[in-house]
Homo-oligomer: 191 residues x 2
Amino acid sequence: MVSRGAGARQRMLTAALDVLDEAGLAGFTMEAVARRAGASKATLYRRWPTTGALLVDAMDATYRPFPTPDTGSVAKDVTEILNAFVTLLERTPFPRLLAAFIDAAERDPALSKLHTDLTNRRREPLLTVLERGRDRGELPPDTDPELTTDLLTSPFFYRHFVAHRPIPRRMVADVITRVLNPGSARGLTDC
Amino acid sequence: MVSRGAGARQRMLTAALDVLDEAGLAGFTMEAVARRAGASKATLYRRWPTTGALLVDAMDATYRPFPTPDTGSVAKDVTEILNAFVTLLERTPFPRLLAAFIDAAERDPALSKLHTDLTNRRREPLLTVLERGRDRGELPPDTDPELTTDLLTSPFFYRHFVAHRPIPRRMVADVITRVLNPGSARGLTDC
């Protein structure tokens, strides 16, 4: 059971997602969201002073934190997280929201900052499993978890948003092999 | 010297870029571009049947093809291309255009397809230098140039559009080391 307030908030966020999904950022106005939610604009403005603030909460609502796996194997942990991420990209409203956000953030430094905060929270599970892997000696002691997180996740963003290509199921394994397991006969130097 | 027609076309594309830069996709209409260019809407529609078609040409106009270097060293060639790419991301209107495009493509399959074509052309120089490096034996014979191109370029897109973090100058070298030179004591397996 949720409180009446929480139900109303959720209904408005759902309406915001619907509007963004259909109309994109171009049609994302307080008026359109209010109409969709069957609420007054005043009610919306009481909770969200700007469309930017509403956009951030709607974005956040689509995001259920990835669990942080702890299987004892860094490759397995990373596989679990990346598979969940691919599902998020391919089967949820998340990418449309993110696309609207990418455009908005390019024009509005405040939104850009908010998006940075959201992104940082989303990076946490991967950073944690990489740090654990390093501490267990599975990864070299000079591994940079931040750069490694960039290398592991960015190819999937790129595929979806820039190259507009499908993400083959084996891509998760291929990226992990190239990024985490580079000793496997794939280098400029010979081993 | 350009012909009168080419000059008019260029003026309209410049106007389109200005409108997109200031107003984003939300304000990108034939009317706004016509007003900015001092042209009639009919003139614009004669060249571009839809705002999507205009967007594609405007996007293309910001893109001067990267030269395809041929220094004899794959690492040097890749460094040149990635440095030029970082400059494009940090010092030109390209990222704002791309951001608008990312949002538009998420909602319009035709634009998505056009963007795929543009992206494929932009990948060519990197694919070429990677293939040459493989053919010279600098890279392992089983190197996949497509995946390697994803791994080399996507961290910069991600940094700019998703993480909204600055791109440190040494990031190009770090990414190249991790992606092309993995034998350097950075792996799950020991060499």
